[in-house]
């Protein structure tokens, strides 16, 4: 579960967005779309905690695992400074991933870095023969990363940008409402909370269920500390579930948005 993984490559895809490849054969073997790793970004005691990052892709043949991340704070900044050939300590794969039907079309909705787990899901779905429709939105063209890789997967992509620099101007949720969904196709989404909240409302109106990958600040990542609570409906009441161990993938309809 704990791996000292060599850094195979580290690439800057956009001003703040990096993709890092690790040599971690066991992770590559086991990881399912929607699962994540707990990454140690520092060698000092500050920052102290690991950072959760979704598995973005695996290459079983090469034993490689890709992470896609945005530099938002000290942890990710330190990660971006890590050099080729050095080792990164990661724990995982962790969490419960997406559940995908054996066949038929699937719809993926990615906002910003939400593409990290959904790219992996798209790949796996294509390998299994599902038809994949991806709605992918970001602030601007340059933040719509992995475009070439996505296109080479042979999937249908609808692009959206806040500034209209690529695809439709506006949010990915507006785009999805406009384009509509193929009947009965399950929906999978990942992205910032406001987007997921808006998407949940839209899907409710359409009477559709979906699986969302959620984020919460994490301590242990393995279900022990109860630090990563998310509010989930239970009958008329609610309970807290652990994003790390009960998720990070949850049914959109059960999440209570604050």
């Amino acid at each position: 579960m704990i791996h000292e993984a060599e850094i195979l490559s580290q690439r800057r895809l956009a001003p703040d967005i990096y993709r890092l490849e690790l040599f971690a054969p066991r992770v590559a073997e086991q990881a399912q779309p929607g699962q994540f790793l707990m990454v140690r970004t520092s060698i000092s005691l500050d920052p102290f905690l690991r950072r959760p990052l979704s598995v973005n892709a695996v290459d079983r043949r090469r034993g490689a695992v890709a992470l896609l991340y945005r530099v938002v704070g000290r942890g990710t900044r330190l990660l971006a400074e890590r050099k080729l050939g050095k080792r990164l300590n990661v724990v995982g794969p962790l969490g419960r991933g997406f559940t995908v039907p054996l066949s038929g079309p699937v719809v993926l909705v990615a906002g910003g870095l939400g593409i990290a787990p959904l790219f992996f899901l798209a790949e796996v779905c294509r390998q299994r023969g599902n038809e994949v429709i991806l709605f992918y939105g970001a602030r601007s063209q340059e933040e719509l990363v992995l475009r070439r890789e996505l296109e080479s997967l042979g999937i249908k992509v609808f692009w959206a940008t806040d500034d209209g620099s690529l695809g439709e101007r506006g949010t990915v949720v507006e785009l999805l409402k406009k384009k509509g969904l193929p009947p009965a196709a399950p929906v999978y989404a990942a992205g910032p909370p406001p987007m997921l909240k808006a998407l949940a409302a839209a899907l409710k109106d359409m009477g559709r269920e979906a699986e969302f990958s959620l984020e919460e600040r994490m301590g242990c990542g393995v279900g022990a500390c109860r630090g990563c609570a998310v509010k989930v409906r239970e009958g008329k009441d609610f309970v807290y579930r652990r994003v790390c161990a009960d998720g990070p993938v949850f049914k959109a309809g059960e999440v209570v948005w604050e």
């Binding site: 579960m1 005691l45 500050d46 905690l49 600040r217 022990a224 109860r226 630090g227 509010k231």
Partner: protein, 308 residues
Amino acid sequence: MKKPRLAVDLGPNLVLKNPVVTASGTFGFGLEYAPFGDLALLGAVVIKSVTRHPRRGNPPPRLVETPAGVLNSIGLENPGVEKVVKEILPALRATGEVTVIGSVAGETVEEYVEVSCRLAEAGVAALELNLSCPNVKAGTLFGHDPRLAAQVTRAVREALGDGFPFLVKLGVVGNDFLAVARAVVEAGATGLSLINTLPGLAVDVKRRKLLLGQGTGGLSGPAIRPVALWAVWRAYRELRVPIIGMGGVAGVEDVLAFLLCGARAVAVGSGTLAFPRLAWELVEGLEQALAKEGVEDVRELIGMVAGS
């Protein structure tokens, strides 16, 4: 090289195979960490604090990172003593010969007594009374008042009978913790667990609101280590009772430091979040360090730090 002896006792009826235990709340009920190592190799697994009824805990966010530390406000989320006794302890025991120490929280003397008795009956090796949770309303009520602390200790002692080992866990902020410690020892506690988290908070400056869902939280991790060592050292010098020391343990040097200050066992808390195998690594590392220094018995170190 002869293998050093690692076993320590915490009072007459509690021998641990080594002094490294887990800190309540940071190791779940043990099962969550079973994939990382053999729980039976640890001195003991101290489980998450248990209350009479299930508690769903505090609203998120519950956890923020601070400089070299962690601020948490879990709010004693736990499934209640019934489920712990019926489902979790048996599952834990099924993993091997695990030494389990139960942790008890409550809002009334009766609740402490009832949960203690249920856990003791269920076969835990010892108990820790958590009188110092900063994250629930009544959490520090008992731990801040020597009289109340003695009252709950006495009631638990009477209910458990004379021989059963239990420690009282205290914090050090906002109370005269030595007075409370003295009171609970006189009231029958076998020893002390020091220290619980320090009260703290973080601010979301942009939104002008407290960052944790509950508002305030408890600070742990390497940041608080110097305070924890001080508390153990003070309590050991004043009271000479068995102490489980904790606060910021992240390496073998820290374990040695706590032992030298007077702890008979050392708990690993937030360190496990950062390094899931830390407790096991410390058992191995301690053995190696003692062997290297030619210490035959870990008990030779306890309380042996020299002053200035």
